[in-house]
Symmetry: C2
Subunit: 189 residues, 2 copies
């Protein structure tokens, strides 16, 4: 099994990372998996101080779900999905996920962000779906990047970028992107 | 058959439109298909003066391909894909397309853009693929929207937006998005 079999390409693959704390609490967060060769099992991740990073540092495997539900992305960006959102916890699979993967993680640089070397050890495709390109979904993902940074540093220039994304979500998104946008805007108020 | 069966959702669905001129020349262009109810056959499109619009006005059906190849998107935005890019011309299917659809078009507003009412009359899923979210692909689509506007009006504020997209494509895209970006940048020079 190689990364390309599970939907990864070279470049940065945005996915939902799932980890577990020492006491078994599930954590979800969008992260980027950096791939040089999708025909291999090897990838990298850069993790800022976060629950994901702490869990991995204390021994959790890094699980990944590939999913296109804008509400899952939005809740995961700001807090954790509760167990009700999962169709399975072993392996952890959020309802509607297209695929899951399991990675072994090795910290190779202890900084902020820390560098991790990842090795794909298991995974499966659950379902495939057909979808047109939706600029509203794309703009929501972009707005989440800006919004999570804004919460960290309150850099007001990010608000202009979020507002540009907002207008695209409102114009092009489906009802589900618009609902996700409301959740996002509530978090930066 | 309803729109949702072919990957459409409510909101604006970005796809490659394919039309034929009176003398049989194939035309390709990215357009947005506006859907209120994906469980129906009915949609809308707004078309500025273009080959797509002229072909539809002179009797061409509107064919649609759902595809995620950034190079296909980029060439279609600025010029036409030659017949070599197609795996079939009847129905027109660009190599790598996930699905094709055929729409009947009726002009309901003669303006710029003109309004068209669309009815899905045929279509099929060809293949499904699994792909992670790629901010580079998304930014390329956004850059194409800005670049095609820029070519029309030379509004230099669009160059800033294109440059923001460029840096995301360079950071997050796969080799294919980066190659598409080069084609885009050559067109706005």
């Amino acid at each position: 099994m190689k990364l390309a079999d599970l939907g990864f390409t070279d470049g940065i693959n945005e996915i939902i990372a799932i980890t577990f704390s020492k006491d078994g609490k599930v954590n979800t967060a969008p992260i980027g998996i950096i791939v040089e060769d999708a025909d291999s099992k090897f990838a990298k991740a850069r993790l800022y101080h976060s629950h994901t990073r702490r869990n991995v540092e204390t021994g959790s495997k890094l699980w990944v779900n590939i999913i296109y539900d804008p509400i899952v992305w939005t809740i995961s960006a700001f807090e954790d999905l509760s167990e009700d959102w999962f169709e399975s916890l072993n392996p952890p699979i959020i309802r509607g996920s297209l695929a899951w993967c399991e990675f072994e993680c090795e910290k190779v640089k202890d900084d902020n962000p820390a560098g991790f070397k990842l090795k794909l050890i298991d995974g499966a495709i659950l379902r495939k779906e057909l979808r047109t390109v939706n600029r509203g979904f794309n703009a929501l993902i972009e707005a989440l990047v800006h919004a999570t940074r804004y919460i960290m540093n309150r850099d007001s220039s990010l608000l202009r970028k979020i507002d540009e994304c907002r207008s695209i979500v409102e114009k092009c998104g489906s009802r589900r992107e618009k609902k996700a946008l409301k959740i996002l805007l509530d978090h930066i108020r």
